[in-house]
């Protein structure tokens, strides 16, 4: 069982959360070329090791978190609130 530290609610079981995938993606401008959209929608670094990812505390405070977790060991090394709207975050 993953134990995820929610900045608002404390450490909670993974079953309270919904996975949101890669947390490093930056949404292109609406006018960006198709290649940029292809990259954003489909391509992933998919690292074996440290992975920055999004989780939503769906059965809790419903806030989105950005979590750093190792995909080999499942160890969680950091979790922080996500500034909204995260899709428009500047790199």
């Amino acid at each position: 069982m993953l134990l995820i530290e929610c900045p608002w609610c404390g450490a909670r079981d993974q079953t309270e959360f919904t996975y949101g995938g890669d947390g490093t993606l930056v949404r292109p401008a609406n006018t960006a070329p198709m290649a940029a959209w292809h990259e954003y929608v489909y391509l992933r670094d998919n690292p074996r090791g440290r992975h920055t990812e999004l989780w939503q505390h769906t059965s809790g405070c419903r806030q989105w978190l950005r979590v750093v977790r190792d995909t080999m060991t499942h160890e969680i090394s950091a979790s922080s609130p996500v500034e909204l709207p995260f899709g428009d975050r500047k790199p």
Partner: protein, 423 residues
């Protein structure tokens, strides 16, 4: 078979070895030191890689091939699946490809002179609403138009076929009918890897275990070899067949893939007397079950739902699998589980595999198998060998190109969109 297997397995060889207490069987394949160069290097010694090497040697006359495996043969997803074989797909590209694979399965034990225990016990998808049954009828009709067997069953026919299913109105998700593919079934997964290994080895293919690829060497946009934990190996053509780790290996050649690696678990129960002679899938949740020859119920369900390369999962996913099982088969509530395990899936952005050429010359990919790589093993090896030999996609895998995502030509069987854990 016309290969160079020195000693064919037969009732005569069995009887002859019985006389000496079965102590003198020759090893099934060699354990060679890697040579410094090959015509083709296949990365990954699972079913797909070994099948590719076998068909390269047998169908294309390319036997100067090495299969490089970081662990042991079939220790990855080939030995971690729930052994289901089927071709019950809606979309044409999937239907044609998986049906060709199923046809190869039907002759595989004889082809390889190795019993892969392929058992065409049928695959039954349960429907739990009229709308779902309509969708199954549509898929069944599409299958029949593609020349694939499919039968739509009433609840009564389902109950007759699988008496232990809860077919009552009191079930949480009452059964509205089912779609049966009678030619589907199960196979012995380890035997598939061993059978292909033995047959490929007999043609002179070198199978090199405990040898991890740590780099792909390139020169001027083409591959020239691989760097491994046991030294450099030169090759002008390199095939990647490492599903689960495709993203990791493709990154060695500077390629990003539309894939996330996810964890999928499965488990077996204590052995029971024969109670289930087909494969049943739950339509209102994610659960599938069959009974092994040893009597264990083999079952699986959904992903753990987060990126992982760990090959071990957590209990919430298993609890959900058990819940699905108990809803279908009330007797399962008192069943004890014996073992569970996890494998790493290449989850693509449309739920379909990626087979074909890559933007680097001489580099080919066979991956992105999501939940469904095992049943594809013979077909995948067949088309991938042809793709490598001819340096262009085999007609059956043209639609599965990596470029389909950039062109918007995705093959989204479930209509789930670019959310890899939803397929």
């Amino acid at each position: 078979m016309d290969s160079g297997i020195v000693q064919k397995y037969s009732i005569i060889s069995l009887a002859r070895h019985a006389l000496t207490g079965h102590r003198n069987w020759p090893r099934a394949w060699r354990d060679p030191e890697p040579k410094s160069a090959y015509d083709v290097v296949i990365i990954g010694g699972g079913g797909h890689g070994l099948a590719t090497a076998y068909y390269l040697a047998k169908e294309h006359g390319i036997a100067n091939v090495a299969v490089i495996e970081k662990g042991w043969l079939g220790g990855g997803n080939t030995g971690r699946n729930t052994t289901i074989v089927r071709s019950n797909y809606l979309l044409p590209a999937n239907a044609h490809f998986y049906e060709w694979s199923l046809k190869l399965w039907e002759g595989l034990s004889a082809e390889l002179n190795y019993n892969v225990m392929f058992s065409q016990r049928g695959v039954l998808n349960l429907a739990h609403s009229d709308a779902q049954l309509d969708a199954y009828a549509r898929r069944g009709n599409a299958m029949r138009l593609h020349g694939i067997d499919a039968e739509l069953l009433t609840p009564g026919q389902v109950h007759e076929m699988v008496p232990l299913l809860d077919c009552s109105d009191r079930a949480r998700f009452p059964i509205a009918g089912g779609l049966l593919q009678p030619r589907g079934g199960t196979a012995r997964h380890d035997a598939v890897a061993w059978g292909y290994a033995r047959a490929a080895d007999s043609y002179g293919v070198d199978i090199i275990q405990n040898c991890e690829v740590i780099g792909i060497e390139r020169d001027g946009g083409r591959v020239v070899g691989v760097e491994t934990s046991r030294g450099r190996i030169k090759a002008d053509k390199i095939g990647i067949a490492v599903a689960g780790n495709s993203g990791h290996v493709a990154a060695m050649a500077g390629i990003r893939l539309p894939i996330e690696s996810h964890l999928l678990q499965a488990m077996v129960s204590e052995p029971l007397k024969p109670m289930l002679d087909t494969v049943v899938t739950f339509g209102a949740g994610h659960f599938y079950v069959s009974q092994s020859d040893k009597g264990e119920l083999v079952m699986g369900g959904d992903l753990d739902m987060y990126n992982s390369y760990a090959q071990r999962g957590n209990l919430p996913a298993l609890e959900e699998v058990a819940t699905g099982g108990a809803q279908l088969f009330p007797i399962m509530t008192r069943l004890r589980m014996m073992r569970h395990w996890g494998g790493v899936m290449d989850m693509t952005m449309d739920g379909s595999p990626i087979i074909g050429t890559l933007p680097v010359g001489g580099l080919y990919l066979d991956g992105g198998w999501c939940y469904g790589g095992f049943k594809a093993t013979p077909g995948s090896g067949w088309v991938f060998a042809d793709t490598i030999a001819q340096d262009r996609p085999h007609p059956l895998c043209e639609a599965f190109s990596l470029e389909r995502f950039a062109r918007g030509a995705t093959i989204d069987e479930k209509g789930a969109g670019p959310t890899p854990n939803a397929h």
